[in-house]
Amino acid sequence: MTRRQRRLTMIGCALAVLACAAGLVLYALRDSIVFFSTPSMAAEQHIAPGKRFRLGGLVQPGSLVCGGSQVSFEVADGGSKLPVTYKGILPDLFREGQGVVAEGALDASGTFRADTVLAKHDENYMPKDVADALKKQGHWKDDYDRKVAQNMKGASCAHGG
């Protein structure tokens, strides 16, 4: 093989691999990404039951019901509210009145069935998605996160801890 042929083989291989990778990426981007939504955005967009998305907002004070490992609460963003059920252990930073991001899908009755609830281990106690969404809707005050930090006594499921 001449130098030129060798180089062409190499470039051909590289292009083939890149094409495969590009195909995989496009395929994966179509199927496995999850959109973020707040309760009012979810209400506007009429998200179909069963379609996965991330729901972000504040845990509505007084809405938390703990029953063993099955919990339910409401996520609110000032505009509207959405009931959420979750089976499992809530993260350490989960409190009423605080920001939360849950991933899952709506069921037929319009309840959001979460399979993961994320509490961001963020020193500002507020997931960025939630903060941005709240800011956009004008429910954000500049000292909000600090106030939340001070009011960490909001109810959680804990009794002894």
Binding site: M1, R3, R6, T9, M10, C13, A14, V17, L18, C20, A21, L24, V25, Y27, A28, L29, D31, S32, I33, V34, F35, F36, S37, R54, C66, G68, S69, K87, G88, I89, L90, P91, D92, L93, E103, K120, H121, D122, E123, N124, P127, K128, D129, D132, A149, M152, K153, S156, C157, A158, H159, G160, G161
Partner: protein, 660 residues
């Protein structure tokens, strides 16, 4: 006083960096050795001043001087001493100071150990290091000064985020930074080579050990971070494809590729332009990682800085360095002469294949990490790209790499014999088949992917062993000769075998943990028994305890297997009073390389407690693999070839050794 001294030392370091940025380059232009040697002194002095500045910050944290804002926000007088020290880099300002400390350390090391480098190359390398250092000193001094005072000092601090008060996280950032910043050396050498328009095998001989060292630290740092997430975050996950994790994975992938291409360059003087490009890309990805983590631009578990001025400043640094270096590359790369020829089937060819797949895999991670960001900026849509995306793209690209791994070391340089290599790898292939059959039978059907992946992993591990056996001629020669050949084998050969076996072992752990882990989530009352994976776990009772700066709820479990008591496990939940937050301390019981994992949820009114119990088979292999890889790296680093360096005339030998 200490704070002001620390601040002042940092300003002086900036001044030194500015001098080091242009004086040595002018010296190289005018061929003036005195000017070029300025770089050596300034690099060493810079390190001293930054070290002094860092020591000042440590001192402030240890003595709990709450008149300093950084100490007030991240420390507490009751915090144990070890976390007072590690808390220094548990926050944005302190961790940036650690970043520049390590950068200055590497600069100082090049200055101290680089006596056998051509004078102008050393001058250029140190000047480029000073550009990076200068930019980051400016960043710290203007946007994230850790030495700011509070006019009315409070009596008590706000304490460090409790999840960060952990020994794993104390060691994780320095390791990671040693890796990130270590790649700056390869970057500086690449830029220096482009400025000089000259590059040779000696260049690669210098770059490779530094890259290898950075790679070892990065490997260990990533593994440690992953283990920390596993036991501290309380849900037993060890990799989340979180942007911050990806930020460290990308330089690792590019760095691994660089390690291999530098090998080709050193041995065969080929792939020069590509190696230069990879050096630039690897450090650019490290900078990108710093940007992602430090600017808080992505929603993430770790992103705890969210000041926009900082983000913009780092973005500016990022653009100037990446844009500048790539433009320089575009302008000058064609002037570098092409080196040795090789056939597609050869060790060089295998290493090119490795590079191709590693960089492509790195690119998919890059897209998955930055696509949500780009989309949000362009359309305002918020999406999250999670594990499914990476499993679909990253995994298929990594499979060919794994298949190629055992072949690489078996092929000869220049022109290899694929059939011969395949014959020698027959044993590994057979072992892989047996492993697939056993895994298939043991799992009784189920997913076909898991046994295949285990077979692949076994192929890699056995392939590494076969390579060693071939090299020392075990079974072909008498044992004594084989042993002698084993001791005579270059350490880099051992290093390669260990590192390659390490990936295989990590893969076994990953596959077993994800496929066959079992979990129980539910509420348990005292004296209740839960059965999981053959183990019986009895909740003995709950108790309270007071720690130094937290209150703790402990649950005691008795674990027994087949009616025999094995051990007790005591997971706990800690509430940190100052911040009003709590952390979950999981209890781990190690059986061989498998683990039982218990973490606590909340107590209920009727005296029960929610628990999460996992049985994770072979989970420890996930971290043994990287440790083995790093060990292989250390072996390779201690290879005689790298210690001795380029052949020198007999007279110069004495001085060279003294310099080490």
């Amino acid at each position: 006083m200490i704070a002001e001294a620390g601040h002042y030392a940092l300003v002086l370091a900036l001044g030194l960096a500015l001098i080091q940025s242009f004086v040595p380059i002018l010296g190289a232009r005018w061929s003036d050795p005195a000017l070029m040697n300025v770089a050596r002194s300034t690099a060493l002095a810079q390190f001293l001043f930054v070290a002094g500045s860092f020591a000042a910050l440590v001192m402030l944290h240890v003595t709990s001087d709450f008149s300093v804002l950084n100490v007030y926000e991240n420390s507490h007088s009751l915090k144990p001493l070890i976390y007072k020290i590690t808390g220094v880099w548990g926050n944005h300002e302190g961790s940036m100071l650690l970043w520049v400390l390590i950068l200055a350390l590497f600069g100082g090391l090049v200055a101290a150990l680089g006596n056998n480098l051509p004078l102008s190359l050393r001058a250029h390398v140190l000047a480029v290091q000073a550009w990076i250092a200068g930019a980051f000193y400016l960043f710290i001094l203007t946007t994230s000064n850790p030495f700011l005072r509070i006019p009315n000092p409070p009596i008590e601090g706000r304490d460090l985020n409790p999840v960060l008060q952990d020994i794993g996280l104390a060691v994780h950032p320095p390791m990671l930074y040693l890796g990130y910043v270590g790649f700056s050396i390869a970057f500086s050498f690449a830029i220096a080579a482009l400025i000089e328009g000259r590059i040779d095998a000696a260049w690669a001989r210098w770059v490779r050990p530094w890259t290898l060292m950075a790679w070892i630290f990065l490997t260990l740092g990533i593994a440690m971070g992953s283990y920390w997430a596993y036991y501290e975050l309380g849900w037993g996950g060890w990799w989340f494809w979180d942007p911050v994790e990806n930020a460290s994975l990308m330089p690792w992938l590019a760095g691994t590729a660089l390690l291999h291409s530098a090998l080709v360059m050193e041995k065969r003087n080929a792939l020069k332009v590509w190696t230069i490009l990879l050096s630039i890309l690897t450090f650019s990805l490290s900078l990108l990682g710093t940007f992602l983590v430090r600017s808080g631009v992505l929603t993430s578990v770790h992103a705890f800085a969210s000041d926009p001025t900082r983000g913009v400043f780092i973005l500016l640094i990022l653009c100037v360095f990446i844009g500048g270096s790539l433009s320089l590359f575009a302008g000058r790369a064609s002037s570098l002469k092409q080196g040795g020829l090789f056939a597609p089937i050869s060790r060089e060819g295998a290493l090119v294949l490795n590079n191709l797949f590693l960089t492509t895999a790195c690119a998919t991670v890059f897209i998955g990490t930055l696509y949500p960001l780009a989309l949000e900026v362009l359309t305002g849509d918020k999406i999250s790209v999670g594990a499914p995306f990476f499993n679909l793209t990253f995994a298929p690209l990594f499979v060919p790499v794994m298949i190629a791994v055992p072949f690489g070391p078996m092929l000869a340089w220049k022109r290899g014999d694929l059939l011969g290599a395949a014959q020698r790898l027959l044993a590994a292939g057979i072992a892989a088949m047996i492993a697939i059959a056993i895994a298939w039978a043991w799992a009784r059907g189920g997913s076909a992917l898991a046994p295949l992946a285990i077979g692949l992993a076994i192929f890699v591990v056995v392939g590494a062993i076969v390579d060693l056996i071939e090299r020392i001629g075990l079974f072909r020669n008498p044992l004594a000769i084989s042993l002698r050949r084993a001791t005579g084998l270059p350490r880099s050969a051992w290093g390669t075998a260990f590192a390659h076996a390490g990936i295989g072992i990590a893969l076994i752990g990953i596959v077993c943990e994800t496929t066959w882990n079992s979990e129980y989530i539910g509420t348990m009352k005292p004296d209740e028994i839960t059965k999981l994976a053959g183990y019986e776990l009895k909740l003995d009772g709950l108790s309270q305890r007071q720690g130094p700066n937290y209150r703790e709820l402990l649950a005691a479990f008795t674990v027994s297997l087949d009616g025999k008591k094995l051990s007790t496990m005591t997971p706990s939940k800690r509430s940190f009073t100052t911040r009003g937050t709590s952390t979950t301390e999981a209890a781990l019981l190690t059986r061989g390389v498998s683990q039982l994992y218990i973490s606590l949820g909340d107590t209920s009114a009727d005296g029960g407690i929610t628990v999460r119990i996992y049985h994770k088979p072979l989970v420890l292999l996930i971290w043994f693999g990287p440790v083995l890889m790093a060990f292989g790296g250390v072996l390779s680093l201690s290879d005689r070839r790298l210690r001795v360096g380029a052949p020198k005339p007999a007279r110069a030998q004495g001085r060279l050794q003294a310099a080490e």
